[in-house]
Amino acid sequence: MSPRPGFILDVDKSTPPVLFWHGEGFRMEKLPTGSRVVYPPEALPPLKDPLGAIVNALENPVGESDPLSSLLFADMRLTIAFDDLSLPLPSMESPDIRQLVIEQILDLAASKGVDDVVLVAALALHRRMTESELRHILGDRIYDSFAKMGRLTQHDAEDPSNMIHLGLTDKGEDVEINKRAATSDLLIYVNVNLVSMDGGHKSVATGLASYKSLRHHHNVKTMVHSKSFMDRDKSQLHSSNWRMGRLIKEAGVKIFQIETTLNTNTFPESFSFLQKREWEWNLRDRASFVGASTALQKSPPWLSRKVLHTIRSPYQLTGITAGEVEAVHDITIQNVYKQQLVEVHGQTDILTMGLPYIGPYNVNSIMNPILVYCLGLGYFFNMYRGMPLVRKGGVLILSHPTRREFDPTFHPSYIDFYDNVLADTTDPLEIESKYENSFATDPWYIHLYRTGHAYHGVHPFYMWYWGAHALDHLGGVIILGGDPKTVHRLGFMSASTMPDALEMAQSVVGPDPSLTHLHSPPLLMADVK
């Protein structure tokens, strides 16, 4: 039986309550009659022989590229860059797809007598991963043989000796990337293309870049004009990355891009109810929902978090393409769309969504208020093609507890951002002009980024910019079940129940509003016509 495509449910009196993620737990909310619920398509069937597919992709590249085996030669400098643990979400069951691909590459390189191989985690300004996280992505065999020899590195954007400036784009954008990667005979990039914004030229131009380079597209102006940044052709973020990618190519950096796509088989058996439509829940699903949600509700947040972060996704490979960056990415994007797109007709006054416990920047950590903001207004809001799911001036209702909780090891600058910057203003442009530079160049944050496991000092600013387009577009944001004080600090309103939230929303959008709920998990993208 082939998987069913996405589905729009019109809520009537008999519709059961709908599941909302609510941080480290769930809410069941009865939506008003006449609302729409957008359900994602079911998981696509995986490739039958993933290992064979990898071998095949490496030997049959697309675009202007020779097969990998003919690009490898003894005495060459080979660098393999790979996406960090912000992808996929949650982390996938072992073996991670990156491990499988890189093992294949290393076998091939060994057979060609390549000795000088360095692995680089493409962190950009993300935190350095811990040993166990690296082991999870790469597997023990690769970790043990590379880490001790110093050949497993994590990109350090603040190490001037390891950065190289390749020039300016025709728009005057600095292109400064990892020196080892740029000066190798071949740079192989191994990605996981979870959503449509990933991959393409963004892999190298962002993942291996410095603050100096990133600030040309990670800024308020670019983000407001990326409608959305999930839709490459309408995203200035991507145009900038594409300009940079082309300059990197012109500068002589030879890139062999490998992109992979996964299906949306996101949760293991015990959480299978998360993958199903509520009225199709069987007895087991109901039982596991009640069990899980009660246990999570009764536990302190840190314990629920600990439990949830141990979940490993049974993701399966739906596609792997290798070769020249742009040609590869065109195919990849189609694969992503095939899995995630749902056609929706017309915009809505009120858009509701539940926010989960995890986002790209809090793997094994706390989803702090700024990440809540970013996940809602940055990521989920932008999961559209064509036009936003919610009309201009409409209201976004997010469900999340939004506690004032921060991880001081991973997100130190977020704490100061929340306490000092947001206390002053929530306006992205003002924040950018008034505060960005001091955080970006702060020696203490740079120290923690380079030697600890901290996100770069400027990272919370990017989170805020991610939401700039949504802020510009929306008439109001309400966080359902959010801690009032914290929500207020973010510049939003909090409501304790859905009816309250709807009443508040009506004061913005007027009476008798239309409502659409974006039902996730798993991930989906609205194709709004």
Partner: protein, 776 residues
């Protein structure tokens, strides 16, 4: 008549900076334009008489009316009429400069208002001021007049108190005590002698080894491990306080043994006696007011100076602290507004002395216009029901019912509560708690102090609510009747003019509440509160240096978990469990060692690193920092260090922790002073530190030399610490900050008005129970 008679006169006044004295000076300046005032002022340690007049007298809002009248000419007008004279009433001859003796000899009227009015002054102090003072003033005037051969008329008016009548019932006439039927024959000279030798005895007793041991224990209990120098200072302070307390106790004991409620009334009574012996050499009048309270009309209704007898009681009651105050409902509370007393004195001065024998005027309300205790209580109650005070949470405070209990019962109740709270305070003080929980102990301490204060009020003032004496005011009334109608309105001292309800509800209570600076609005925190002001000072650009302690100030961790984490980092799993058990068993003895001597405790831990490899420890420390220290850090503390740096202050960390552990923290501070281990020839650590561990007093001296080397002023610096062992460092700087203080330090901080920060670990992280090392 009054104005005419006093015009052109020179008036010499003692005690002009007191409550009554201020009102008197103002009254004379305002109503008698033609008189000159000579004010006897005791020079302060750093200020002269002139300055004290400016600061302590003329700045008072009592003179607002005159300021308004004279506008720009105020200073000019006043300085033309007020002449400060340096001297004091506790020295024979008043310590006058020869030229001032001449001034004194030429004065027409001398008003002696200086007194030690506190009911709990030490005995000898009360004796010197209240007993010997009036006689000294009389002698000084007589001697000066003889010296310069002055023979023109002179008049000495001594202000006494109606309560010289002591614990007597019934009518108390305006007569010298010796002429009243119930006087006790006391030789004032032997009372003076006994009081003076008593101080020497008590001083001696305070140096007895047994007594000294009590001080030592008490100091240690209060300050904990603050180091010898501070404990010594504290001990000496306690000894001096003890002598003071003993002298106060002696005063009350002696006073009650001879029929007066307290040392004040007793010394005042004997003071009258000693003065009256001089009646043949100088014309005398004695004015005896009862309890002086807010002004009824002049200079403005409700004017009051200082926090007097009734005010603390009223405020304690309104705050709900004093549930009951003893007194008989039908008893009379003899209160008199200050402007009436001042007016009466001016009238007495104008009248001049009686030629036959010294005249006595009582200025009291009890016989003419009695205020019943029940009426007073009733007005106070209803007023505070209508105008409640608010607690720190912005909630109105309910005031208790008043049941007019006997004194014994109230006292017993309060004593019981006080003892209970003291025991509770001691018991909880021994618990190893800090921060928010410690503030609970501070609350107990505050409560206990409030109860102790209430107890003090009951002991001291209880009798005043129970006095049955009725002070006669016949002389006062005939003086008032002799005035013409216009004078009666300007010098309105007939107690019948007081309308008690208006006086209490509309004049006195609003004034008391305003003076007490209590919360009268439900706002949660007054704008620009003391806390905000403190923080602004601490974060002012003017500061030079911010010095931080590490453990429990920046990070909720200590040398024990550091060692445990690092030592267990590379152990196999099962050995980790054994290690944890072993450490847990050692816990109590380690804690005991820490309490005893911080230095020894640290050395014991340094020894454990013997044979460790520096490179490996450095690597593991980096991991320890990320996996443990950062998670146990106080983000607000780290932010504060950074804030100081951004303000251009130098930042310094002083800690007994080891250098390799602190390596990852280095970029946070300008400088770090910490312990370093010696490295042996084999390249391994030797388990000995290179220098004395920077703890306790050592920190204060390290800080002092650091500041000196860097030309930074400690008085302009801020120090952050959490325990009493850091007291030397906290005291060394101008701006001490207690972070999550342990109970003892919290108490000290509250008393001294030090800034307190409650900094917490980041919320939402799983709790870490055991400091066992594992990779991230």
């Amino acid at each position: 008549m009054i104005v005419d008679r006093l015009t052109g006169k020179a008036v010499f006044i003692t005690g002009s900076t007191g409550f009554l004295g201020t009102a008197l000076v103002e009254k004379l300046l305002r109503t008698i334009p033609g008189c000159q005032l000579y004010l006897l002022i005791r020079p302060g340690r750093t200020t002269n008489a002139e300055n004290r007049v400016q600061k302590e007298l003329l700045k008072n809002d009592c003179f607002d009316l005159l300021r308004e009248q004279f506008k720009d000419r105020f200073d000019e007008e006043i300085s033309a009429r007020i002449h400060p004279v340096s001297g004091d009433v506790v020295s024979d001859g008043l310590n006058l400069h020869p030229s001032d003796r001449k001034l004194l000899s030429e004065c027409d009227i001398i008003i002696h208002s200086a007194a030690s009015v506190s009911f709990d002054s030490p005995l000898d102090q009360a004796i010197e001021v209240n007993l010997c003072g009036p006689r000294r003033v009389a002698e000084a005037v007589i001697d000066a007049r003889n010296e310069f051969g002055i023979t023109k008329p002179v008049h000495l008016i001594a202000i006494s108190t109606a309560y010289v009548a002591g614990r007597r019932r019934g009518l108390s006439p305006e007569l010298p005590l010796s002429d009243t039927p119930f006087s006790i024959e006391l030789d004032w000279r032997s009372e003076v002698k006994a009081a003076r030798s008593l101080r020497a005895d008590i001083e001696l007793k305070s140096r007895d080894p047994k007594t000294l041991e009590i001080f030592r224990k008490k100091a240690a209990n209060e300050l904990g491990a603050a180091g010898v120098p501070l404990l010594v200072v504290k001990q000496e302070k306690l000894r001096i306080q003890w002598i003071h307390d003993e002298m106060v106790r002696a005063g009350i004991a002696r006073a009650t043994s001879v029929g007066w409620p307290d040392a004040y009334a007793y010394t005042k009574a004997l003071g009258e006696k000693a003065l009256l012996e001089k009646q043949d050499q100088i014309p005398l009048t004695i004015v005896r007011p009862s309890i002086i309270e807010s002004a009824m009309l002049e200079p403005r209704p409700g004017w009051i100076r200082g926090f007097r007898m009734a005010e603390p009681i009223i405020i304690s009651y309104a705050r709900g602290l004093l549930k009951e105050f003893p007194g008989v409902p039908e008893g009379v509370i003899d209160v008199i507004p200050v402007d009436m007393v001042a007016a009466a004195i001016v009238a007495v001065a104008a009248k001049g002395p009686r030629s036959s024998s010294p005249e006595i005027f009582q200025v009291a309300s009890g016989s003419r216009n009695p205020l019943k205790y029940a009426t007073l209580v009733n007005h106070v109650r209803t007023w505070f029901q209508e105008h409640p005070l608010y607690d720190s949470d912005g909630q109105p405070i309910m005031i208790p019912d008043w049941s007019f209990p006997g004194r014994g019962r109230v006292q017993a109740q309060l004593e019981k509560t006080s003892k209970f709270l003291q025991a509770l305070e001691q018991a909880t003080g021994m618990l190893p708690i800090r921060g928010e929980q410690a503030s609970f102990i501070v609350d107990i301490e505050k409560k206990r102090q409030a109860v102790d204060n209430a107890l003090g009020y009951v002991e001291l003032y209880g009798t005043y609510a129970e006095t049955d004496a009725i002070f006669q005011v016949d002389n006062l009334l005939s003086l008032y009747q002799s005035l013409d109608e216009q004078e009666k309105s300007h010098f309105a001292f007939d107690p019948a003019l007081i309308h008690w309800e208006t006086f209490i509800r509309e004049i006195h209570l609003p004034s008391v509440v305003q003076h007490a600076r209590v919360k009268t609005t439900p706002s949660k925190r007054p704008a620009n509160s003391r806390v905000d002001r403190n923080l602004n000072l601490i974060l002012s650009k003017e500061r030079h240096l911010a010095v931080f302690d590490l453990e429990n100030t920046i990070i909720s961790s200590n040398v024990v978990d550091t060692y445990a984490w690092l030592a267990s980092r590379r152990l196999p799993r099962f050995k980790k469990a054994l290690f944890a058990m072993d450490l847990a068993l050692q816990g109590p003895s380690l804690l005991a060692l820490d309490r005893k001597d911080r230095g020894d405790f640290l050395r014991a831990f340094y020894r454990k690193y013997e044979g460790a490899r520096p490179q490996r420890l450095e690597k593991d420390s980096q991991e320890f920092f990320n996996a443990y220290l950062l998670k146990k850090s106080f983000p607000a503390a780290i932010e504060r260090v950074r804030r100081h740096r951004s303000l251009g202050h130098k930042t310094l960390l002083i800690t007994g922790a080891l250098d390799f552990v602190l390596e990852p923290l280095k970029p946070l501070f300008d400088d770090i002073i910490c312990a370093e281990l010696e490295i042996g020839d084999n390249g391994l650590y030797k388990g000995r530190s290179l220098a004395v561990p920077p703890t306790g007093e050592a920190r204060a001296s390290i800080l002092a030399s650091y500041a000196a080397e860097n030309s930074l002023k400690l008085s302009e610096s801020v120090a952050y610490a959490d325990s009493t062992s850091d007291l030397p460092m906290l005291e060394a700087v101008g701006y001490p900050v207690c972070v999550n203080p342990e109970p003892k330090l919290a108490t000290i901080a509250r008393k001294r008005g030090w800034h307190i920060e409650q900094w917490d670990k980041a919320k939402g992280l799983p709790p870490i129970y055991l400091p066992i090392g594992r990779s991230m």
